[in-house]
Symmetry: C2
Subunit: 193 residues, 2 copies
């Protein structure tokens, strides 16, 4: 159903660019520009008091500083969970007590195979921040509610960060997810009482 | 603060790959692999009865079919709103009565400047679906609640789709966003009454 011939254009430090000749399920054959990426892990650091720890990081591609959750590329063969824990400590100086996988997302499946594994970190303890020389960032702590508001206001615009924060926010209210696949959301609670 | 020299590696149908030599705000100079992308628009099609119209689309990069919201690349000079309306009709056969911008997101700011403008479409009327030859997809309609559940279950994994659906879901419950920047969320309602 899906056979591909690959022509390599570029193999770099982080990404590889190939032109894949692909036969689609409808029989049409096309050339696709395909950026291969090693994948990454990201983590929503949630404190007991309901705040989240974000970073404000310089991103050349975004033309300046943007808000993100801690994240980094997978090392070869690395467990995404280990990567998440490593980046959490390196970027904001915390070690996770508990790490839960929220989602493994395709960032831009039209042209790249990048997957980011997004975790929630809780029961964190103090570790030691140690930034790479190409990491320029400051640590910013806000309540989860403020973070959601920053998304709505257009202040937080990074995809993995939005998915992570919104998943934690929605998840905190959906403890009673039933096995039958019917959701009884908190926003329905008032009418029930 | 941020000067860049660019070396072009590849200019293709959709993406351009450059190596940018960048001086970071901390004075460190590095080479960055940078995928330039024209940008895109995506749209959450929300019906009056609370269902959303998704597509299940073949994506070579994802190794098969994945759930997405309708989306497409911007034509040169195109208003993202026009692009959203066009893709809505082409991919699922609806015309939007109302289009509201939810967010303009960076999909993967570590290596690409791609921005996707995500809209919510309501008051839709029937139009005519007409797919490109390289688009292989089926239309799937689920309730917004089911879509959120599909995110939690790992069935929906596309970043723009997750951001769009979660934003609509959260937004529907946060009508009383105050001007002072304090959110009074519905999940706090029970304690207030």
């Amino acid at each position: 159903m899906n056979s591909a011939n690959t022509r390599n254009i570029y193999s770099g430090k982080i990404i590889t660019l190939n032109i894949d000749t692909v036969t689609l399920p409808n029989g049409v054959t096309i050339d696709l520009e395909m950026v291969r990426h090693p994948g990454a892990a990201a983590v929503v650091p949630l404190k007991e008091n309901g705040t989240v720890v974000l970073i404000k990081q310089f991103r050349h591609a975004a033309g300046g500083f943007i808000y993100e959750i801690p994240a980094g590329k997978l090392h070869p063969g690395e467990d995404p969970r280990d990567c998440a824990a490593r980046e959490l400590e390196e970027e904001i100086g915390y070690q996770p007590g508990k790490l839960e996988l929220l989602s493994s997302i395709f960032t831009a499946p039209g042209f790249t195979d990048e997957v980011i594994h997004i975790y929630k970190a809780t029961s964190m303890t103090k570790g030691r921040q140690h930034l790479d020389r190409d990491e320029v960032l400051e640590v910013v702590e806000v309540s989860l509610q403020e973070a959601i508001e920053m998304i709505h206001a257009g202040t937080i615009r990074d995809a993995k960060t939005m998915v992570g924060l919104q998943s934690v926010f929605i998840g905190r209210g959906t403890a009673n997810l039933s096995a039958q696949g019917t959701l009884r959301f908190w926003r329905k609670a008032p009418q029930a009482s």
